[in-house]
Symmetry: C2
Subunit: 339 residues, 2 copies
């Protein structure tokens, strides 16, 4: 007793399969009465078109693939949330693929025929590796990947964000900044580091880079170094919030006043940032908007696959600029828990 097919509906409604297809897909040349009858029968039999068969005829799958690095934290929730918002409006589905380590080499290629396009986020992959894995001829939007790939690029303007934060710290009185960087080879991490260094140079303040890996633990280690004076700094700017929070806890644990003795800042504005004590100053990235925009761009590329429009060119390399969110770890006001 498998599912009803279009032929079952046709037989039951005493029409041809072509008419059923036309009636259900809203074609014009269909007598209203016949359309109504077909719809009634389809509903009665619980008929739902077979997605595979449809994609075979139409050469469209109505699904877009999302390729993400190993999933952690709210970042991905937010991204998926934003993507889902756009996807639902377009009656598309999201096919999720996590790309990690060994597996995934042919995983990506296997998506061909299963999706109409790809949103790829792979900050840890180089252009060559990525190009090698990607199915050719599939529209793609790249989130925070190395530049120069064939497809639309959408990125967070990490350098500008880091610079804005350095400027804020300087304005708040910092003269020696410790920057806790993310893992080497990660594009986001590199850009934030470069942006911070450049801004510190321009502002004429010292900046020391401490190597981290985006984990809270590595942030704590960096915080400990600053607390013990191994590294001299009156401000600690971490490349993401997780490390900033790790550092914050470590500093407090060592009895350092924040922001009194050391100002602390992060990047991303994860929900947790506003809840720690003192609340963390950070750069907010509207992650949901990033995801939504990626889907918009991809959808545009799918409807106009080989479009040569000039207008598409510039729009294809957008950057989302993060916004500075000032909280208590960098400002003297609103203090309550200092000893």
């Amino acid at each position: 007793m498998p599912n009803a097919t279009i032929r079952d509906v046709a037989r039951e409604a005493q029409v041809s399969v072509a008419s059923v297809s036309r009636a259900l897909n809203g074609h014009e040349r269909v007598r209203p009465e016949l359309r109504a009858r077909v719809q009634e029968v389809a509903a009665r039999l619980g008929y739902v078109p077979h997605a595979g068969a449809r994609s075979l005829s139409l050469a469209r799958t109505s699904a877009i693939g999302v390729v993400l690095p190993d999933l952690h934290g709210e970042f991905y929730s937010e991204l998926l949330r934003g993507m889902d918002r756009e996807v639902a409006a377009r009656r598309l589905a999201l096919l999720l693929t996590v790309l990690q380590d060994g597996r995934g080499l042919n995983t990506l290629a296997a998506l061909r025929g299963q999706v109409d396009g790809l949103v790829v986020m792979a900050p840890q992959l180089g252009a060559a590796e990525l190009r090698a894995q990607l199915p050719v001829g599939l529209p793609a939007v790249f989130l925070n990947c190395v530049p120069g790939l064939a497809g639309a690029a959408l990125r967070v303007d990490n350098a500008a964000g880091a610079a804005a934060m350095v400027n804020h710290l300087v304005a708040a009185g910092a003269r020696a900044i410790a920057h806790v960087a993310g893992p080497a080879g990660n594009v986001d991490a590199e850009e934030r580091r470069a942006g911070a260094i450049a801004a510190a140079d321009r502002a004429g303040v010292a900046l020391t880079v401490i190597q981290g890996d985006f984990s809270e633990a590595s942030g704590a280690a960096a915080g400990a170094q600053v607390a013990r004076g191994t590294i001299q700094a009156d401000a600690l700017f971490a490349a993401n919030d997780a490390m900033a929070i790790g550092a914050l806890v470590a500093l407090k644990g060592h009895g350092i006043a924040v922001p009194g003795q050391v100002r602390v800042a992060g990047f991303d504005d994860i929900p947790l940032a506003r809840l720690v004590t003192p609340a963390l100053t950070t750069m907010r990235v509207d992650i949901a908007a990033l995801g939504a925009r990626a889907v918009q761009l991809l959808a545009r590329r799918i409807v106009a696959p080989a479009e040569g429009l000039v207008e598409v060119g510039p729009a294809d390399a957008e950057a989302i600029v993060p916004r500075l969110v000032v909280r208590d770890t960098t400002t003297e006001t609103d203090r309550e828990t200092q000893s």
Copy 2:
């Protein structure tokens, strides 16, 4: 220049399409030499089987649908992470669908033919609504849904968890517990409330229920009531961590010592729980394991669709038991920030 098809490979390798199919799918009756030639040609042409066509022939899609309520926070990241772990090992894909408000009524039905099975999480939906929307004949695993649906049920053992927490509070010296409940109609909330009440009865301690809605604000309101003495209690057990943290902040704001005067406990062990001061005692739910287990169960149901095995019966209604995580809000030791 569309993608190469099996016929292209067959022509190029000078064999029939059947042989190509057999060679690539690892059938036995294929001469090794021919298999090698086919593989070489397939690789050269960049041939990847069309997923739609395959699903049409095989009546299998190699994808499973995940239906989730509106995405927020790390909970969903963790769930997806756990699911992905299992899914990748089985070479399946995850098709994500967010079920919210109006839309989704036919969204679910449309999944038929697009996935081999469904993992459904819909704590806000009743059995009738859910049954109405679900495609019939599709294997499904329900996460924390109302009981009595046709399919495997996997739940968090909320009642046992709440009971464990009540017992812990009593062991820590509590004699009058205030339970801040979650929103009415939410299955998790109801079960936690019932479990707490039953355990308090057994232990012979008083338990007052305060209505909350899982929000930090409602927790704060409850905390204020306890602080002002409107409700007499020496322990406050919230149905989730967000409310517990709200209560914690409110209690501290009213100058109540935690855990000195009032012990505080939550549920879920969100990452924030360990970072607030004092660190929150809570019940940890291994969410990734929940997701992974759901996929395992579903995979089993897919390979054995109409299996009548007795063994499947009991395994079909599993519960994941949360684990007690004792931190500083319920134990006198390790205190440092009390006035």
